[in-house]
Amino acid sequence: MKLEGKKAIWSEYQKEIADDRYFYVRSCIRQNFFPGSEVAFLRIMKDVLKKDIYEHPCHTTCSGIGYHGDVVPVETTMTVVARQFAIMTEAGYTNYVPSCITSFGLYTEILETWHHFPEIKERVQENLRRATGREFEIPENLAHASDIIFKFRKEIATQAKYRLVNKYTGEPLKVVDHIGCHYAKMFPSKGVGGAEYPYVLAGMVEEWGGQVIDYPERRHCCGFGFRQYLVQANRGFSVACSREKFESMAPFRPDMIITNCPGCPMFLDRWQYVIGEMEGKTYGPNGQGIPVFTYEEVAGLVLGFDPWDLGLQMHQTSCEPVLDKIGIEYDPEEKFTLNKTLAKAKKGKIFV
């Protein structure tokens, strides 16, 4: 097939992604707001793709939100990151996979800095030695968790129970892809498709049957802006950024939004609620919002995972319109049930 236009440009930006033996580190935001997504990612890696992926109990934050909130100095952050690498080294792994986009960008930035300024890397190693006695090697491969799902998108498609297709019309679902700014805006060559035409989520959507929407503010920030959300007085900036995106995408009538950064889906989800309260405006049909998903949630849904096992009950903007369009089976009564076993027992599905 001859590649033309944007697809031809995308093909120029292909990054190397390791194919097994991953060292996984969690995201501050993801595990608080989308815990089901991290669970789903590990389940897909281990049970569906049969990969070796390891989580060490003593890894921590990379300190990225503190760093971009400007309270944590750069050398402190570099040393915290060096400790993460040391734990990976001690565990015998070389392929580093962060769940977070802020982390991924920060790791990329730090590795580039150490490459250009080896004396800083030496100083960080000395800091780490003094503080913890640990030694580290830099990873042989650094890939965001969405890069891994992108790499295996075809394998996921072959095992899929559902496709991103409207069961009533037979048409592909129209999907907005939103890429976290720090995925490739700083170092375009480190992201699949670069900064202008990132393909990491578009590739998943197309492989799983959906159709990606191109709209004017596609690359605009969701509005997290670190301090612009962390402090209540600044949140007007945050909601204004998301609003700009919704206004720009709404004329294309998207069925859903897919994201790869931990913060973005939370903001795109919650700010729809806030705009509804402030202006009485909603961006989906029939007074509903546009459902917002993480890529792990979408992968889990096409593989047939239970929506409530994926944590979709934690979203403020209801996801059911998309589940209904695809034809995904779910039990509405179990949505807010906290004890899964008890709920199934009550319904006579299992005997306890």
């Binding site: 501050c28 989580e55 934050t61 750069v74 899964k340």
Partner: protein, 236 residues
């Protein structure tokens, strides 16, 4: 070049972020913060590049260096390979080290970030822990979050997490030895010193503003810096 410029030059982000700006303004054109705030990254980079000590000092005490959201869209588009966002980070670091941050409404907010995210890193091992995302401080999270927050332990575990448990997993308890290592890293690399400076200068400012400030998140000064928006920051 004067003392402030020399201090900025010591920050690796300044060295990486500023080569030679030709003032084309592409950074301002792409900047989400410049759309919303009275903010112009091109102007800031131009002032810094001039090396004018008085003007740099004004910047370090200004509101405008706190408007950037650090999305780094500017880095992608700059035809000279500059990163105004990194220059901003160097300015913010210096503003805190010199105590100038308390001279602006937006700068004073650093205490709120230090006491929430900053403390969380050392106490929980993560920048954010669900306990701190209270519906009171986060009304924008919506009514569903109230249910999530109230049932967080059961819900996280129902989804396969390990809420405040031992071993690996979501929202696990980070072992004390690990938290001790983090604290030691902060001690060795200047992180704790930065925290102390933020507290020190904030206390001085609270006294000057005649606002009560204790160690909690519930006092006059904290409430003031967390919620005050004098309305002069944005484009009308």
């Amino acid at each position: 070049m004067g003392k402030l410029y020399e201090l900025l030059e010591k920050d690796i982000r300044f060295e990486e972020g500023l080569n030679a700006c030709m003032n084309c303004g592409v950074c301002t054109a792409i900047c989400p913060a410049a759309e919303f705030y009275n903010y112009d990254p091109r102007r800031i980079v131009d002032i810094v590049q001039s090396g004018d000590e008085n003007e740099i000092e004004k910047l370090l005490k200004s509101e405008e260096i706190w408007y950037c959201g650090e999305c780094m869209s500017c880095k992608t588009r700059c035809p000279r390979g500059n990163a105004p966002g990194l220059v901003i980070m160097a300015l913010r670091g210096l503003s805190q080290d010199l105590g100038y941050f308390v001279e602006s409404e937006k700068g004073r907010q650093q205490l709120a970030i230090k006491r929430t995210v900053g403390e969380s890193i050392l106490n929980t091992g993560y920048c954010v822990f669900i306990d701190m995302v209270t519906p009171a401080l986060h009304p924008e999270q919506g009514p569903n979050w109230e249910w999530v927050y109230e049932n967080r332990a059961e819900l996280v575990n129902r989804l396969g997490g390990n809420f405040k448990g031992d071993g690996p997993g979501i929202l696990r308890k980070i072992p004390k030895e690990t938290l001790d290592e983090l604290k030691k890293i902060f001690e060795v690399t200047g992180g704790l010193k930065r925290y102390e400076k933020i507290e020190f200068y904030s206390h001085l400012k609270a006294e000057e503003m005649n606002l009560e400030l204790d160690e909690t998140l519930d006092n006059e000064y904290f409430r003031n810096i967390y919620t005050t928006n004098n309305g002069s920051h944005t484009k009308q």
